[in-house]
Symmetry: C2
Subunit: 344 residues, 2 copies
Amino acid sequence: MSKRITIKQIAAALHVSISTVSKALNDSYEISEETKKKIQDYAKEHKYKPNTLALSLQNKKTKTIGILLPNILTYYYARVLRGIEEVTTEKGYNIITCITNESYKKEVDTMEMLSNGTIDGFIACISEETLKIGNFDHFKNILEDGTPIVLYDRVHAEINCDKVVTDNIKSAYKATRFLMRSECKNIALISTSEGLDIGKFRVDGYLKALRKYDVIPNEDLIIRYNDEENLKDAINKMLDENKVDGIFTIDEISGAITTQVLNKRNIKIPQEISIIGFTNGILSRYSTPPLTSVNRFAHTTGKVAAKRLIDKIEEKIPFDDIVTEIIKTKLVERDSTKKMFIKF
Amino acid sequence: MSKRITIKQIAAALHVSISTVSKALNDSYEISEETKKKIQDYAKEHKYKPNTLALSLQNKKTKTIGILLPNILTYYYARVLRGIEEVTTEKGYNIITCITNESYKKEVDTMEMLSNGTIDGFIACISEETLKIGNFDHFKNILEDGTPIVLYDRVHAEINCDKVVTDNIKSAYKATRFLMRSECKNIALISTSEGLDIGKFRVDGYLKALRKYDVIPNEDLIIRYNDEENLKDAINKMLDENKVDGIFTIDEISGAITTQVLNKRNIKIPQEISIIGFTNGILSRYSTPPLTSVNRFAHTTGKVAAKRLIDKIEEKIPFDDIVTEIIKTKLVERDSTKKMFIKF
DNA sequence: ATGAAAGCGCTAACAA
DNA sequence: TTGTTAGCGCTTTCAT
């Protein structure tokens, strides 16, 4: 079992001192080629691997980053993780991933548990519950300890750290505008009623676009929902009672559900009703018809966040140089909106 | 910055010895209530947190587990991760997550990097490339060092460790049988051509079911593909040239793509062609129509794997007590297959 | 009831 | 060129 060899054992076996071994393995100029070779060969032969723990304890850097995901089943976050993973790997960092599952307690516990020298910094997305509760002390405390944090996607003004966010208002604005330009007159909005700022921003963008085109928002065309079953009913009800020719859905699942409802009602997409979704994931790609949607660059978000954090950790940027990076989105046109010949 | 306080500082501040502080914080009976209280209060006040690294270095246990995911964008693996996360959290373990992205090199590097005292054990799914190359030395070496590994989903006989796998043959058998019982006569199979055993097993199950019902397999109805564009063409070609009334797809994406193709051809599902997919994820749930599919219990898989590994780590099970756990599947009936009144 | 000292695996300043 | 020693933060004998 556990026959991991240590520097000490090498020293004993070769009748040299521990520090000689250490230096030899680090290829120090102080050690003669001969001894070096002898030691290195022995190490290789016995598959010596330095104990990371001991190293970290020494230089107070663990080369690992804590990642907080609110939820891994959302394709978007999975992609952010991929982005993070890509740069951390490249830079030789490990990541400790924790899924808060939108729970305040889990978030606090996790951060608590990791901020004991286990990690050099955090990349986090605030959980829904935390946002609702509005207590951000755990973030503040960690920042006070001098541990850098980069927040992504869901952020809060009270937390004074680097942030990487989606350009929500503008994206929603552009999506809505796209629908209007493709001649939709009655554009519905499917939103979630969770208290996330993100949702609010997207609604704002929608409203802003309507205003811009002198359309008076119709509250009957705005659905805010909690659970999926409700949503289907709500959409059906809305369609029963209103004329609708365009729908902007605020997240991917809503888009998928809306599509299912329309298909079930045999409503032709996009001839009768156009749909634009948010967050361009697999659901949008593989639905029938494939959905035009606002592509969020999850991967980029992850990469930017990771880069920023590592720069902070490695002190290439001063700790209090705080920045908010805004990741632009791009509308991906598929088959759920009318093809326009005039491009704007 | 970094004003994390240490035991030493507490000792200095309170004019006691380091070991007294250590004992007091561990609530040792050796220390007087008075001193204990004094020390504990001071610690609390200054937000003392023991340095995990130092502890790990001491007791040779890190309470962290390395997780290898071949790919996080596949909903199934995301769910496995959730399952793992759930039990590790409950048992006070951290997880270091690494996405191999189906690369052999990445897999080897990662395992190499983590097996230096950083982790107590691995939960891994072998990458596609590794399976193709057929070199499993990295797994064997780690096992030899006495570090436990639990393999899930994609496994290999050469690696002698605990495994948690899906009951692939039987699941495919049952899915195919279901199609036949719902009166499909010409059942096509959409498979991937990667050299994964899993795929082979599922094909075996399909063939076994056909044989059972005295149906001679028709090679023209079996599609093996590499990339998505190819697949669409292949399906179209197959439908052009053959009579097909049932399709069994071997993974979720194939199912989604097949559905898109059928919808585009205006083929009625399930009246004209029934579909059963594998791995019941969001795509199956939100497609039009929602797909009947073989539900794999990803979450359970993760939980079982994590439990097994932790038991090994904590030596509740001897290291060489090797087991393969088979996770059963369940067919979830939705709208892509004909409703049967006779239930089998 | 308290403290001194050794040690986990390693590095680095200093001596030889 | 090699070795001795102290120390990273903590636990744990063994003294006191």
